[in-house]
């Protein structure tokens, strides 16, 4: 029995191996499927649903769904991208995302995803405008949970990689919010070197390293020169996407 098989993504034959998720197979082939909660090094959990594809007609999260031989996958179509736009738009409306004053601007995955998906209408839904106080108690980091998108990356990194439980959710449904294991971040065991606190874990401007602020000039920030996902597309030479400078 062959160790590789083929899946069909929007009509293109993509090689896959047993045990790979749809997303892993596509990544390896230079085909980027948008995502927010998934990040290299952490177990996927399929919670943001931005990577939703149709696998033989059924909506699944590509980051958790195993690739199966001869699966027919719908990914980069108007209807799938509309779902993604709706999901990302709702995230933008749930929190306080005032990008012009946010130091994550230009390196923020949520903002970059909005650019990639062409989200331009910022007034389609009501803004929830949460009023959660900043937690600046810790000498090294600030938490602005008004920008949290509930991707759980910090929760998983703390648990899986740091062996701690610095972060957890409290509340349910629309009242769900990120909490720390203590009254404030300073009361927790978060410390320098924790994976959960490192660059690249929080995709937005919620976990902020103190003092960095706007020290990276416009033009040199992570997504100033290319769209989110292009690093995956470029790995196999795909460069048919235009770039747009983040605001």
């Amino acid at each position: 029995m062959s160790t590789t098989f083929t899946i069909h993504v929007d009509g293109a034959a993509i090689p896959a191996r047993p045990g790979q998720t749809i997303m892993e197979a596509c990544d390896a082939a230079g085909l980027y499927i948008p995502r927010l909660c998934d990040v290299e090094g952490l177990a996927p959990q399929g919670s943001c649903r931005v990577c939703t594809v149709r696998d033989n007609g059924r909506c699944v999260s590509a980051c958790t769904q195993p690739a199966m031989p001869e699966a027919v996958i719908e990914h980069d179509t108007e209807s799938m991208n509309r779902y993604r736009r709706d999901l990302v738009t709702m995230l933008l409306h749930e929190g306080n995302h005032l990008c012009p004053g946010c130091e994550a601007s230009g390196r923020c995955e949520l903002q970059a995803m909005a650019y990639r998906l062409g989200i331009t209408d910022s007034n389609r839904l009501p803004y929830l405008q949460p009023v959660r106080p900043l937690d600046a108690s810790h000498p090294l980091w600030v938490l602005d949970t008004n920008r949290c998108i509930f991707c759980s990356r910090c929760i998983r990194a703390s648990r899986e990689q740091d062996g701690k439980n610095v972060f957890e959710y409290v509340g349910r449904g629309i009242h769900k919010r990120l909490a720390v294991n203590g009254n404030h971040l300073a009361d927790t065991s978060a410390q320098e070197g924790d994976h959960a606190m490192s660059d690249g874990i929080c995709p937005v401007g919620c976990i902020i390293r103190k003092g960095e602020g706007f020290s990276t000039p416009i033009g040199q920030r992570r997504f100033d020169k290319h769209l989110i996902g292009e690093e995956i597309e470029n790995k196999s030479g795909r460069s048919d996407l235009s770039t747009e400078e983040a605001q």
Binding site: G101, E103, L134, A136, V142, G213, F214, S215, I218
Partner: protein
Amino acid sequence: MTDRAAPTDPDIPVNQSRSESRRIEIDPITRVEGHGKVSIHLNSAGEVDEARLHIVEFRGFERFIEGRLLWEVPVIVQRLCGICPVSHHLAAAKAMDQIVGVDQLTPTAEKMRRLMHYGQVLQSHVLHFFHLSSPDLLFGFDAPAEQRNIFAVIQAYPELARRAVLLRKFGQDIIEVTAGKKIHGTGAIPGGINRHLTLEERDRLLGQIDELTQWCRDALKVAENYCEQHLDMLKSFASFESNFLSLVREDGALDLYHGVLSAQDALGHPIFAEADLTRFNHYLHEEVKDWSYMKFPFIQSLGPESGWYRVGPLARINNCKGMTTSEADLALKRFRAVLGKHCGHSLAYHWARMIEVLHCIEVIARLLEDSDLLTGERVIKGVRREEGIGMIEAPRGTLIHHYKVDEHDQVQFCNLIVSTTHNNTAMNRAITMVAKQHLNGQPNLDDALLNHVEVAVRAYDPCLSCATHALGQMPLQIELLDAQGQRLQMLSR
């Protein structure tokens, strides 16, 4: 009491049985860059008692910023103003320098910030003079409103208009290469700056300097000629004595980025000069009046009645001993030869502004030749402090940002004194004078009154009136109200 003709609009209630005092209101309907309203109060004899400029926009920025992180502030406060965001960016950054314990930036950081600031003053002054004020000056205050706008200037003086656009663009290009974006950039950070100039950027800007300097000379000539040809008007139109406040360099030279806070009286005698800017509130106090959201600052030693003052180009030109660049210094001498050392004419602001335009381009040319912009340490830190006061000469005058920040890096206190606020009393004086002259005991609600009031305000601050000239005719209402606030008459256009 003198009664006026009934309004033509039948819906407007008319009550002619009023006595004692009446109020005429000029009300811009569009809310752009600070919504202003003018009310003219008449006494029982129908003479102008007082005119008030109402800033009805309440920004609430000071509260909004509380709790935010110190390094966010220079970026967030730029949203205060669409015309000179860079001034707020830099004033806040200067305050935050102190919080992070830096009194003296590295040469690279200071020069980059200076370049950013002079670029922005250049573009703002050009906007103010050409786009907003030149229609008044070129076509006359009493020209029809359809003519007094930038589009008419483009038609009648296409070359002048083209140069104005390109000069502004040059200023904006400087902002872009120093701040990262033409508007709302991030260049100034606590303790320094976040980027150098590249060689390519430097050369691109330097390549334009000669031509643009000539344009600035010509632009100054337009203002000089206008003022010299209309001396009588300058002397009679909203001309009054006042104190003047500005930063000046330690040696007395004009400096837009940093200096000693200095106040002089109408005769040029010093009232105070304070090098330690953190002590500014020993000299300046703010008065609150029940009819305005805007405070009324005054020089503490003189009291609120006579301690009010003016800021902006005319204040800087009056207060300084000279200019640090040669051509602007000659221009200053010409100004003083014609108008004297302590000029009080509101319209002389335009001349002073254009001297600064020439000065800006000369300073920019000098800075661009400086290799510190290309390399060198960008940011430093020192011993942390709790309080910071950033001061800068914004295009329209002294701008003060005052913050207190706690040990967690969160802002606990914020007070901003913007140039419009400094000029508050002066602008009220100016429109009172205009209204007195124009109405002259026979209140007449006509376009000419509106035009003259606008011209007087615009000499100080286009923010209240930029809708007018930037977009054509400003929809206006004049309301005549009695002391109880009831409308007697209204005129709109």
